[in-house]
Each structure stands twice: as structure tokens, then as C-alpha cells.
């Protein structure tokens, strides 16, 4: 089963992807690292920041790794490079 999720790109990840938001189709259940791989398949330049990025899944931080995600159509996934507020 797949679902349609909304991916948001910020800061350097938006520069590398060349897009700020898009909807992609992904398996409903996958690990956060598999989700990253799905996204890098679309935007290969993002591979450069793999070890300096985390996700926000439904506005909660998730590290790239073995964590299993259960996604639903309409979920928001943000690509979060190191933050620099303040």
C-alpha cells in the first residue's frame, strides 16, 4: 500500500532539491532511512547532506535510521537541515 505525503524542503535542502514542496507517493510503512532513500532517488544532490539532516514527521523530529514510520495520505514530512535560528 502506498500513500501520498507532502514533503517540505528548507534552507540548504531546498537549494539542493530545487523545490520547496512536493507531493510524493511512498509505502505506508517504511523506516525513516528508507524514506530518505525514496527522496534522494528524486533529488540525488540531497545525498550530500545525509549525515546532517533530520526529518520532521507530522511536526515531530525523527532521525534517519531504523525507526518505522506509519504514514497516511496528507501527512507532512519536512527535511530539516541543522537549524540556525536566533
Amino acid at each position: 500500500m502506498t500513500c501520498e505525503v507532502i514533503v517540505l524542503y528548507f534552507a540548504r535542502s531546498a537549494d539542493l532539491a530545487g523545490v520547496r514542496t512536493e507531493t510524493i507517493s511512498v509505502p505506508q510503512q517504511l523506516t525513516s532511512l528508507q524514506l530518505w532513500d525514496e527522496i534522494v532517488k528524486r533529488h540525488s544532490r540531497l545525498a550530500a547532506i545525509q549525515d546532517q539532516v533530520v526529518f520532521a514527521v507530522r511536526q515531530e523530529y525523527v532521525l534517519l535510521g531504523d525507526q518505522l514510520l506509519v504514514l497516511h495520505t496528507g501527512d507532512e514530512i519536512a527535511i530539516i537541515p541543522p537549524v540556525s535560528g536566533g
Binding site: 520532521a56 519536512a78 541543522p82 537549524v83 540556525s84 535560528g85 536566533g86
Partner: protein
């Protein structure tokens, strides 16, 4: 003791407008408090000897609100006497020397609000999804806060 009719409040705002320290500190004034502590982060005109023209901020706005609310909750757990908390962050282009962030916190006595302001700005820099782009004469660079644990910048 909390003053009647002056329940603790959190004021969180993202704005493309110029920030005002007077306005932010006025939000947290309380008749039962003897201290307002304030932090103002301003934009610098240089980095590593290079001239910075301006800074540009962007944010994942709805999540900024969620993360700043978590900071406010933790401040109230750590310093229960803290009264009001105001955190304003500017977005978009911020000219040199203008404020990018202002934190104001009130408490009956100064020690709690001073400590809480320090905790607030340190945690904001570590966890809140806001990004700063330094714009130089002919290029730019995305900054990374050293407080952010997934930053791996070699310094």
C-alpha cells in the same frame, strides 16, 4: 503568589516586521513581578573576516510554534515562579544591527527570569526549525548553530 487576573501567559510571534524591544518587554510586565529579563539577538556585519551584507531567515512556521511552546512548558517546570514569557523572531531579510530575536521573561525576583532567558535562547538555537542565510557580496551560506546536535560542521 500569582496576582489575581494576571495568569501566566506565553506570547509567541514570527514576524517579517522590525522587532521592538519595548513592545516585547511590555508584554511580560506584571504588577506582581520585580524583574523583566530581556535578550536581544542582533545581526552582525562580519563572519570570519568577511563582510556580511544582510541575513535572511526562513522557518517551518507551524512547527516553530510547537517547539517554542515546548520550551515555555519546560521553563515553567524548571522555574515555577516565572510569570510571562514573550518570544518574537523575525523572518525574511534582516538588515545589519537589527534584532532577529527578542526574548522577554518576567518573574517576582531577578534570578529566575535571568536563568530562564539564558535557557530559552540556548534551547531555541538548538531545536527550533528556523534557518539563517548569511549573504555576502557575491555568495551566501546557510548557517548552522553549534547547539544543534545534528550539525556536523567542521570548524
Amino acid at each position: 503568589m500569582n496576582g489575581i487576573g494576571d495568569e501566566p501567559k506565553d506570547f509567541i510571534k514570527l514576524s517579517e516586521e522590525k522587532l521592538s524591544a519595548d513592545a516585547v518587554s511590555a508584554l511580560v510586565i506584571s504588577p506582581c513581578c520585580g524583574a523583566v529579563s530581556l535578550f536581544i539577538g542582533t545581526t552582525r556585519n562580519n563572519f570570519d573576516g568577511r563582510r556580511v551584507k544582510q541575513l535572511e531567515y526562513e522557518a517551518y512556521a507551524p512547527m516553530v510554534e510547537v517547539e517554542i511552546k515546548k520550551i515555555c512548558t519546560n521553563i515553567r517546570l524548571k522555574w515555577p515562579s516565572v510569570k510571562h514569557i514573550a518570544i518574537h523572531h523575525r523572518l525574511g531579510t534582516v538588515p545589519i544591527s537589527e534584532a532577529s530575536v527578542i526574548v522577554a521573561i518576567s518573574s517576582p525576583h531577578r534570578a529566575e527570569s535571568l536563568d530562564a532567558v539564558q535557557y530559552c535562547i540556548n534551547t531555541l538555537k538548538a531545536t527550533v526549525p528556523i534557518w539563517k542565510k548569511e549573504v555576502y557580496e557575491e555568495e551566501y551560506s546557510w548557517k548552522e548553530n553549534k547547539e544543534c546536535f545534528w550539525a556536523k560542521t567542521v570548524k
